[in-house]
């Protein structure tokens, strides 16, 4: 378990480090203050994973540095019932002249293992890295992926109670990333707490039990990872407007589920209605797989939009994207919307998805450019409706994301001995 209470950290920016001393001696202000963290509190229970999301400069790195003990907080405390190790940046404290094996001893000592302990775990550590003979080479010859493997392996074998993971993990190849993930899950099942900092929202959704959203050093929201990520996307939306337009992030309560749905909009468009229909134009809450589903929504322009485009996003119950596109990406011509004009969009598709709950999100943007980008993002409304898909008894039985409707052939051939 790890408990962080009221942690604040302010960096003072000086023209030169010497100004810090001048300040101490002459008691005069020589700095500009930068608040990196402000009254941050959270708790990660045993066997739980906390995701930390936020834009660059939101305070994530500072938080990790404070958690790992490299920096000291101005206020607040951190309580852990054991060791904290982690995979922070590459090669935490490695010496590049030394061999991989020597670094195991060096780094292991830094992480609080004694000689006997390292001697005992040495083989496990090396085996996990799969570095083979390379372990006897100086690590300056290693690739970043190899460094990551070594750093991860040592940090995991130091038997921490809390493990910190940041972007460094993404350096590894797909195979090793999965291997690390399995190890992390194993660690979690054994009662370890994990703090996961990432920009990979899908990873946050799959791994984390809860999440916090940091913005300018404050926790602006905490709770279910899915909600936090939607909130985060809302902030990104406001950012793409360079702060010219105020963005309202509001929580809409879904009538059917009572679930809170954060949506973000610039106030330049308004979603008037949203319906999910079957082929008989009846509003539905569930449907059999392989059937036609129609989504109809109306958007009102509150200012003139020269080149508006509309998107639809289908996600599964884990929040993972199943399908997502928009009129621009689909090559659909749209028309200029005058202020007050309403556009109605009808989407019709065959819902050949595997059984489960799927949610719909709507996005509106203006002025497309390039392959799939827009100059202005106007609205992002998440999880407006949820549609339950039940298995179609006439279809084949399959698992996965959707029915690929395979053509399967089997023929007898004369085998050669």
């Amino acid at each position: 378990m790890i408990k962080v209470s009221g942690v604040s950290k302010t960096f003072k920016s000086y023209h030169s480090p010497a100004d810090r001393l001048k300040e101490k001696i002459f008691r005069k202000k020589y700095h500009r203050e930068i608040t990196a963290l402000q009254n941050v509190s959270f708790e990660v229970k045993e066997g739980k994973t906390l995701g930390v999301v936020g834009q660059n400069g939101a305070g994530k790195s500072t938080l990790l540095k404070i958690l790992s003990g490299v920096l000291l907080p101005d206020e607040g405390s951190i309580k852990v019932d054991g060791k904290i190790t982690g995979l922070l940046e590459l090669g935490t404290g490695f010496d590049h002249e030394l061999t991989g094996l020597e670094n195991i001893f060096m780094n292991g000592t830094f992480l609080g293992m004694d000689k006997d302990e390292i001697e005992r775990k040495k083989d496990d550590i090396i085996n996990f890295t799969e570095l083979g003979e390379f372990i006897y080479d100086p690590i300056k010859t290693y690739s970043s992926g190899m460094l990551m493997r070594l750093a991860f392996s040592i940090a995991m074998h130091a038997e921490p109670k809390c493990f910190l993971v940041d972007e460094a993990l993404s350096v590894g190849d797909a195979y090793f990333q999965q291997k690390c993930m399995r190890k992390i899950l194993e660690f979690k099942n054994d009662g370890g707490s994990i703090i996961f900092v990432s920009h990979d929202m899908n990873a946050v959704k799959t791994i984390c039990d809860s999440a916090i959203l940091l913005d300018h050093g404050h926790i602006i929201s905490s709770g279910d990872p899915k909600d936090i990520i939607d909130y985060y996307h809302g902030i990104i939306l406001s950012k793409s407007h360079m702060g010219n337009t105020e963005v309202i992030v509001n929580e809409v309560i879904d009538d059917h589920t009572g679930h809170k749905n954060p949506s973000a909009s610039t106030g330049e468009v308004k979603l008037l209605s949203f319906k999910v229909l079957n082929s008989k134009n009846e509003e539905i809450l569930h449907i059999e797989s392989e059937q036609v589903v129609k989504v109809i929504y109306q958007v009102k322009a509150l200012k003139e939009l020269s080149d508006p485009h509309f998107g639809l996003h289908v996600r599964n119950n884990l929040g993972l994207s199943v399908f997502e596109t928009n009129t621009y990406c689909s090559g659909i011509k749209t028309f200029t919307l005058k202020k007050g004009q309403v556009a109605e969009l009808t989407w019709e598709f065959l819902f050949s998805l595997s059984a489960g709950d799927y949610s719909f999100s709507v996005g509106v943007a203006n002025k497309g450019y390039g392959r799939d980008a827009f100059e202005e993002y106007l609205l992002m409304a998440h999880d407006i409706e949820v549609l339950k898909v039940i298995p179609n008894s006439n279809a084949i039985v399959y698992s996965g994301v959707f029915n690929m409707k395979p053509k399967i052939k089997i023929q007898e051939r004369l085998g050669k001995e």
């Binding site: 490299v70 404290g93 001893f105």
Partner: protein, 255 residues
């Protein structure tokens, strides 16, 4: 404070500087041996330098050697401890370490070099027929006080080096002057009266003179002076500890 960590760092410190070379860590000891060789053989035999009041040809060489070995341990400890936070930035900014005891590895690694060179020096004293007297048993005491002084001073300066990087160079220059202000190459007696008066305030003179006493003059060192040096070191250490407590957060932020 983690003793295992400090010892591991000290070990690495000795091995890593010359890692990749065939003789490796041995180079740490080859340099001081070359010094001893030059001082004793070249100075004594070729230049015929004599120590006033001594008949032995080797006396001056040994005088010089005993001072230089001790000075090297002292000055390396001070200058390296003073810059350790910048030099080991790549470790300190990545893993949690206790910054106040972290530089101890330098004092230990320098001590190992000291012990080995002292060993060779003693060997030379014996085979040259110059001989050693039981007073050399004071050497460990002198050395301990000297290193406590070096560590305290280095640690204290080290805190400020983080903020004022120029201090790093200033420390080197001051140590140069300090070396020549201390009777290591020359003897105390040749100094003019007024310099002799100030000399008592030179802490380095206390321990260098103590080595000279036991090795060359075969006398019990000035224990009172050593006690003062010990008290001074302790005071600096307290000061440094207090300053560090006040500034630790800033030190970590600024590295």
């Amino acid at each position: 404070m983690n003793i295992g960590l400090i010892l591991e760092l000290a070990k690495r410190d000795i091995t890593e500087k010359y890692s990749g070379s065939t003789l490796g860590a041995l180079w740490n000891f080859i340099y001081p041996l070359v010094d001893i060789f030059i001082f004793t053989v070249i100075f004594a035999n070729l230049m015929g330098s004599r120590l006033p009041g001594s008949s032995s040809v080797y006396a001056y060489g040994f005088y010089l050697t005993s001072g230089v070995i001790a000075w090297n341990a002292f000055s390396n400890t001070v200058s390296r401890t003073a810059t350790v936070y910048l030099d080991k930035k790549h470790i300190i900014t990545k893993v949690k370490v206790d910054l106040s005891s972290f530089p101890l590895y330098i004092a230990i690694s320098e001590s190992i070099t000291f012990v080995v060179t002292m060993g060779v020096f003693l060997f030379l004293l014996l085979i040259s027929g110059y001989g050693v007297k039981p007073v050399i048993l004071f050497v460990p005491l002198i050395y301990l006080v000297q290193q406590l002084f070096a560590y305290s001073l280095g640690f204290f300066i080290g805190i400020f080096v983080v903020f004022i990087r120029d201090l790093r160079e200033i420390v080197r220059i001051v140590l140069q002057f300090w070396f020549w202000f201390t009777p290591i190459v020359y003897v105390y007696d040749i100094l003019p009266e007024y310099v002799k008066k100030i000399m008592v305030y030179n802490p380095a003179f206390t321990f260098i003179h103590a080595y000279h006493s036991v090795f060359i003059y075969e006398q019990i060192p000035d224990l009172e002076a050593i006690l003062y040096l010990f008290l001074l070191s302790f005071a600096i250490l307290l000061c440094a500890g207090f300053t560090f407590k006040k500034l630790e957060k800033d030190v970590r932020d600024f590295i």
